[in-house]
Amino acid sequence: MPDPLKPAWRLVVDPEKCQGHNRCQALAPDLFRVDDLGFASATGDTMPDAMLEKATLAVRNCPEFAIRLVRVGQGDEV
């Protein structure tokens, strides 16, 4: 039985690409924080499968293509 809460994914915001649109934090406030200038970063190093849907939504709404979702230990991106 796979554990839906096991750390399975890494969420990476590329600071070179993020321009502070804040779409990710608005869609997934648990997964992203924004700093004093409005630039985003992931709140944790890894996240479980249970968060995948929210994370994917954030990835697919970033106008700058700044967010990557990488499977822990495999390097696959979605």
Partner: protein, 406 residues
């Protein structure tokens, strides 16, 4: 607001690929079929009008321009035949690297989601007051009596000036808009005079501040530093003019377009009333489908867009609204889908010039729609009166006559 059609001595367009004109009456009325046609047969159109302008219409090409500030300069963000004869920089929108970054960084803290949050109740109160004034009228103009007042009053509150000065701001905006439409040396001179009037207005408020400790935007700018030094007068007043002007007709255009859409699309209106949680995706979809702002760039050195050579000195219209309707970037691009899940729209621009006020604009649009729908869940377009659209690089309905009630 002025309903006059564009005053231009340029002939009507007959060839949109080689001689387009963004002030042509057909573009002003309904630009979408023009862009759809160009995207298929000539994705980078050109005109010799206005000293030469290129027009990319595909998302991929708009992105390429936005991500290449070395080739495409922001020195002139507006396409016009008669630019003002004095420089009126409004940093950072008119800035290029390397000056752009520090002048942008100093504004960013004032426009983060955290910084905007305290203005949510202020915006709600402003919307409620405007709706009170409409009262139990059976019809009204949702643009003139509502949308156009929300951003001027909110920015007045943020600047720490009386909200009643919003009417003064509307007059200034009107003069700048008229200047874009008329585009004559005389209208440019009037625009310069209005810019000076704005500077004098801000100067009075600066002088009235005993210290610069306030949370308002004027005090915030007084504390700002560029390379560790106080801002030059030119930078300080230019940035304040930008903060005043940039968020007004842009935001009211989107609020107005959204209300226009809901007035003529009862299914979406009823669904949004029944499922308020859809507001987040609906706001993004209105921003995508009715993106108000087309920016401009000036070609700094000979280059190319999608293989089309572009000449130094000519302009580029960065048609973000056209990119947002590109079927290669969005399935059913020409349909408004208020629960659209994947929506990488470019309404606020892309790259280093992303709209600094995007969090503020998004908040104002959402609150203005929520408050309107709470008060008037039932409204329809008054079909006997025309809806007119603003000409120029900020597109939105100047009038949205609606009938209120079931």
């Amino acid at each position: 607001m002025s309903d006059r059609p564009p005053v231009t001595d340029r002939p009507p367009v007959t060839d949109w690929a080689a001689d387009f004109d963004h002030m042509d009456a057909r573009w002003v009325e309904d630009p979408f079929p023009i862009w759809d046609d160009l995207r298929q047969r000539c994705p980078v159109a050109h005109t010799t009008r206005y000293g030469g302008v290129y027009l990319p219409t595909r998302m991929a090409d708009v992105r390429d321009v936005a991500y290449d500030p070395e080739t495409f300069s922001n020195r002139r963000p507006v396409v016009r035949a008669n630019p003002p004869d004095v420089p009126l920089p409004t940093p950072p929108i008119s800035s290029d690297p390397p000056h752009h970054k520090p002048s942008r960084m100093l504004l960013l803290p004032a426009f983060t989601p955290q910084a905007i949050a305290p203005y949510i109740p202020v915006t709600r109160r402003i919307c409620a007051e405007l709706l009170d004034q409409i009262g139990d009228a059976r019809s009204c103009d949702a643009a003139v009596q509502y949308a156009q007042h929300v951003p001027v009053r909110v920015i007045a509150a943020m600047l720490g000036v009386p909200e009643t000065d919003g009417d003064l701001f509307r007059r200034w905006i009107q003069i700048s808009l008229d200047d874009t439409i008329h585009d004559t040396p005389e209208s440019a001179a009037t625009f310069v005079a209005v810019s000076r009037e704005m500077d004098a207005y801000f100067k009075r408020h600066v002088e009235s501040k005993i210290d610069s400790k306030g949370t308002d935007l004027i005090s915030f700018m007084m504390r700002a530093r560029f390379d560790g030094r106080e801002l030059t007068e030119r930078h300080f007043y230019g940035a304040l003019r930008l903060l005043l002007i940039a968020g007004i007709d842009t935001t009211w255009s989107t609020i107005g377009a959204a209300l226009w859409h809901l007035a003529k699309t009862p299914d979406d209106r009823r669904r949004l009333v029944a499922e308020p949680a859809l507001m987040t995706t609906a706001v993004e979809e209105f921003l995508r489908a009715y993106a108000p702002v087309t920016m401009a760039r000036q070609v700094r050195k000979d280059g190319e867009i999608a293989g089309c050579p572009v000449k130094a000195g000519e302009m580029v219209l960065l048609a973000l609204p056209a990119a947002n309707r590109d079927p290669a970037a969005f399935p059913d691009a020409d349909r408004v889908i208020i629960d659209r899940q994947d929506n990488r729209h470019a309404a606020f621009g892309l790259g280093i010039h992303r709209c600094v006020g995007s969090n503020l604009a998004r908040m104002e649009i959402q609150v203005a729609l929520e408050e309107w729908l709470k008060r008037f869940p039932e409204f329809t377009l008054e079909t006997t009166k025309p809806v007119t659209w603003a000409a120029g690089q900020v597109r939105g309905p100047r009038t949205v006559p609606v009938r209120i009630g079931a």
